[in-house]
């Protein structure tokens, strides 16, 4: 009878592990101090702020004509939505009129931006989950290829690929160049066709299903309590979309569906975003079919800093960005600069859910969950 040796270890030791600040799966500079028992996370301390530039103080020192181009730099993956939130807040206080064509162009860019942003999310998230998914980088490269096509559209419109400065108080700064609508139609046709390929590639892959289903569940109650928004909120079974529930910039003129999933896990959030791709394409086609003629701004182009003065008052403008509710709370004192401006960053609130859902997960799940939240650290840290 051989001697049986039992290891006198029950995994009761705790290990503190730094995930980040520079970690490939963090999608930016984010440090999660994980307390581990074996492979299981039992405690999380999230450290943010590495990208803080104090946008809110900056906004108090910059005129209404200057700040929109800086607003792009909060959520730099979806610059169009933060620009829009800022100018909408100023327009609400000043009751500045925005011509119909400008409103449609804002919606058009917002939806193209959603497609570009979701492409980046899908690619990076699947790459995080690694080699099991078609060699890891395959889908990333596919998604980036498609995103480039959308960025080409932005480039031919404003001359920039990442930070646009497209919006101004009272309208937009650029009108569509010749041939742009044709290029836009062929781009969305191509992306629509490729979406099916991605879904087939991912959903037929048992590794993808295993790593996403039942992982990182956010309950309906927790979702609202934290204030997470966008695809995360809708993935947790709450049927709310600012574009439909509180329409702005003529969203009421368009037909689209708001996807809702009830599981609240990574897979539900993935499904919501995949449907959003298609709904955005639907909206884009409706705009291209019915884009009204007319001016693109109710105010002249920017000539001086004092050009836009906003009367005393306050407003809260909320925009449904790709990551959720991008809010700009603006307090004006009658001069050409805001008295106080608060960014309600969608990523900030979405990320705040992590300490509540990570305990109990394995370290590998942390990566999948973090990617499914889709944080952009420019917007978390502002």
């Amino acid at each position: 009878m051989p001697e049986v040796r039992a290891l006198d270890y029950h995994g009761s030791e705790r290990l503190t592990m730094n995930m980040g600040p520079q970690h490939p799966s963090a999608h930016g500079v984010f440090r999660a101090i994980l307390t581990l028992e074996g492979e299981t996370v039992v405690g999380v301390d999230a450290v943010i702020g590495y990208l803080h530039r104090c946008h809110e103080k900056l906004a108090e020192t910059l005129a209404y004509v200057q700040y929109p181009s800086i607003a792009s730099k909060t959520d730099y993956v979806a610059a169009m939505s933060s620009e829009l939130a800022y100018v909408m807040a100023a327009e609400k206080i000043g009751q500045f009129e925005v011509p119909k064509r400008a409103q449609y162009l804002r919606v058009l860019m917002g939806e193209l931006q959603r497609i570009a942003s979701h492409c980046l999310w899908l690619g990076t998230w699947c790459m995080d989950m690694g080699g099991a998914l078609g060699g890891g980088a395959t889908i990333f490269l596919y998604c980036i290829r498609e995103r480039e096509l959308v960025l080409d559209l932005f480039e031919s419109l404003v001359g920039a690929r990442l930070l646009y400065g497209f919006h101004q108080v009272g309208g937009v700064r650029y009108d569509l160049p010749e041939g742009w609508t044709t290029q836009c139609r062929s781009t969305v046709d191509l992306i629509e066709q490729r979406l099916g390929e991605y879904e087939a590639m991912l959903e037929d892959n048992p590794f993808f299903t295993m790593r996403t289903k039942g992982v990182g569940i956010v309950s309906k109650e927790l979702a609202q309590d934290i204030g997470i928004s966008g695809p995360l909120l809708r993935g947790s079974g709450i049927n709310f979309d600012l574009r439909r529930n509180q329409p702005y910039s003529s969203y009421e003129d368009f037909q689209f569906r708001v996807p809702v999933e009830t599981d609240g896990d990574c897979h539900a959030r993935y499904r919501v975003r995949m449907v959003e791709f298609r709904e955005s394409i639907k909206i884009i086609r409706q705009i291209l079919d019915g884009l009204p003629e007319g001016p693109i701004s109710s105010r002249p182009g920017v000539k001086s800093l004092a050009q836009v003065k906003v009367p005393k008052g306050e407003a809260y403008a909320r925009v449904e960005g790709p990551r959720g509710e991008v809010g700009c709370y603006l307090v004006a004192d009658g001069t050409n600069k805001p008295y106080r401006m608060k960014w309600r960053g969608a990523s900030f609130s979405n990320l705040a859910v992590l300490p509540h859902i990570l305990p109990g997960c394995s370290v590998a799940d942390v990566v999948a969950i973090m990617g499914s939240v889709d944080p952009v650290f420019g917007e978390v840290d502002r």
Partner: protein
């Protein structure tokens, strides 16, 4: 829950004055009733969604805390406001009502120095732990030097 009904109900709560403003219901709350008003908004008016919390520095008049919560089913928004008073930095924490207030209040402390009583871990969130001052106060100049950086 209609807007009128919400206004009527909220107006009858102690320490709350319903005023006109940018949300469906704007409630000016006395600081000592801050947490109770938030609880009423959540439990009775169904505002389960916590959007944001921040402060405004009104210079000589002191700080004002502003929070925004929504009832997503009824499309009802409530803006809660409370004036802390000149020179006052103490405010009740809403973390017991909304868990989302945790990070928002930490940011508010970081930027304005507001001491939220009852917050489970009030420390800086965006700035480094050894940062001096609270940058969004009007008394904090934009070009305040911060050695060794400038």
């Amino acid at each position: 829950m209609t807007v009128d009904r919400a206004r009527e109900l909220f107006g009858s709560v102690a320490g709350v004055t319903v005023t006109a403003g940018i949300a469906s219901v704007v409630a000016q709350v006395a600081p000592e009733h801050w947490e109770g008003a938030a609880r009423f908004a959540k439990d009775t008016l169904g505002c389960a969604f916590f959007s944001f919390l921040t402060a405004i520095d009104w210079k000589a008049d002191g700080l004002e805390i502003v929070a925004w919560v929504d009832n997503l089913d009824a499309n009802l928004s409530i803006q809660l406001r409370t004036k802390l008073g000149a020179g006052q930095i103490a405010c009740a924490s809403l973390t017991g009502v909304y868990r989302g207030a945790d990070w928002m209040e930490r940011e508010c402390y970081d930027m304005f120095g507001v001491q939220f009583a009852g917050h489970p871990g009030l420390r800086r969130i965006l700035l480094a732990d050894d940062w001096e001052g609270h940058p969004l106060l009007k008394s904090y100049a934009v070009d305040t030097p911060h050695p060794p950086y400038r």
